[in-house]
């Protein structure tokens, strides 16, 4: 009597082993191969070309579709530009700057012609150091380049708040504003900073995806403050001229 029962019962360690196996299995089901991941998200990665007043290029970077006709990139990609083009295969599409958070180096562009699907936003709180990470962007103008690495670390400010996801996935000039994805294809950051010194390797950084969700609120706050300051300055100037 006891033996059959015993055979059905599993020791705690066996249960844990089974649970772990189940988790690994679930994880394996969800994880995409790099090729699958690229096929899934790359239609949503665009090249950004910043142009000066004469229509000449100032620089270029990358951008990720995060909503209908809406992309995000790094503000430093757009610095001093008078016009911005978004490019994939065909001719460039004119984009409008619709929100900005320069303190976080995060800018939002809108272009009617961009009909690529939005990528899902991931949660950096769920990332673990050592898990795979994939960067996709347009480094050195090389369209849609994918690189593989790890989540290497998390960089925080003096108050302990997350600033950057550190990754060993390779990025280069032109990667700015590109996507850093976890193995499910969720966007966990925008590749923003790389270490370019000869003495360092694979030290690259992405601003966290959560900042994208904060962008409308922070933009509105900053905009309201700037407009209020402008109005106050103009009222003070007009009072002084009387």
């Amino acid at each position: 009597m006891t033996r059959p029962l015993a055979s059905k019962r599993r020791s705690p360690s066996a249960r844990i082993a089974l649970l772990c196996a189940g988790l690994l299995c679930a994880s394996a089901v969800q994880a995409l191969t790099p090729a699958e991941l690229f096929a899934k998200v790359s239609p949503s990665i665009w090249k950004v070309v910043a142009l000066d007043a004469d229509g000449l290029p100032l620089g270029q970077g990358s951008a990720v579709v995060v909503g209908p006709h809406t992309l995000v990139t790094n503000c430093h990609v757009l610095a001093k530009a008078k016009r911005v083009l978004l490019k994939r295969d065909g001719p460039g599409l004119d984009a409008r700057l619709t929100a900005w958070d320069v303190q976080r180096d995060l800018c939002q562009l809108s272009a009617e012609g961009v009909d690529a699907p939005a990528v899902p936003l991931g949660e950096t709180a769920r990332l673990a150091i050592g898990q795979p990470a994939y960067a996709i962007g347009h480094p050195r103008g090389l369209d849609l380049t994918m690189s593989e690495g790890l989540v290497s670390s998390f960089r925080r400010n003096a108050e302990g708040q997350l600033l950057l996801v550190q990754t060993s996935a390779a990025i280069s000039g032109g990667s700015s504003g590109g996507g850093l994805f976890d193995e499910q294809g969720s966007l966990v950051g925008l590749t923003t900073i790389g270490s370019v010194a000869a003495a360092t390797q694979n030290l690259n950084f992405a601003i966290p995806a959560e900042w994208i969700k904060d962008l409308p609120r922070r933009h509105q706050q900053a905009r309201s403050a700037a407009l209020a300051a402008q109005a106050a300055a103009s009222a003070s100037a007009s009072a002084a001229s009387r």
């Binding site: 280069s172 032109g174 270490s195």
Partner: protein, 225 residues
């Protein structure tokens, strides 16, 4: 100095087109080209000994203090001096806080804490070529600062760091560079903040940000009225 300022040399990564960005990057942190002693925007002419004046800087009695360490990467024919200015806003009245040569490193000095302070970092290169970097900040009591400089072909460079935690060296909070091209003593509002590592980050209204001092000025060409 580079090993202190930017151990990782992190850079934002747009793909620059043209020379301007490259040159700007190369000159990042360069504060002032070398000037002959008669140049208009140059600092006050040094004496033969390289000092701007004989008076030594002394912390007012009873004042809380911060420590100032001075370093420089010098060639054999160079020396440097660091001065505290009596009038931090108008950049007048130099008092020597310390200095060194390749053979004799500077002795750390004490600064009065809690008061706006302007420091002049002056390099003398035989036969009396002068390079000046001028920083204004408010030292905090009990903290340690490092004024670290180097002569480069394109000019001289000196940056003020907060080294209170040696494993977390940061640019000194609130430090502003006062001597700019064409301005030997720029008003505080026009002065430049210290170059900082983008990995340092900060806070704005309680939220994490990469650069608390960033403005939307560079986006003006794209912001619809």
């Amino acid at each position: 100095m580079p090993h202190l300022t930017q151990p990782l040399s992190p850079r934002r990564l747009p793909l620059g087109i043209g020379l301007a960005a490259t040159l700007a990057m190369a000159l990042l942190g360069c504060a002032a080209p070398e000037h002959g002693p008669t140049a208009g925007s140059a600092p006050p002419a040094p004496t033969a000994s390289g000092a701007l004046g004989n008076a030594a800087y002394i912390v007012p009695k009873g004042s809380p203090t911060a420590r100032l360490v001075m370093r420089a990467k010098l060639q054999a024919d160079e020396q440097y001096n660091v001065f505290v200015l009596d009038d931090a806003l108008a950049c007048k009245g130099a008092k020597r806080a310390g200095g060194g040569t390749p053979q004799q490193p500077a002795t750390p000095a004490l600064l009065a804490a809690g008061v706006l302070t302007t420091l002049d970092y002056v390099v003398i290169k035989a036969p009396q070529r002068v390079c000046l970097v001028r920083w204004t900040f408010t030292p905090e009591a009990g903290r340690s600062y490092l004024l670290d400089g180097v002569i480069a072909p394109a000019g001289c460079m000196a940056v003020l760091f907060d080294v209170s935690q040696p494993d977390q060296i940061r640019t000194a909070a609130g430090a502003l560079r006062r001597n700019l091209p064409g301005q030997a003593c720029a008003p505080l509002a026009q002065s430049l903040p210290a170059p900082r590592s983008p990995l340092e980050g900060g806070q704005s209204e309680g939220e994490a940000v990469l650069n608390p001092a960033a403005t939307a000025a560079d986006l003006e060409g794209l912001i619809a009225p």
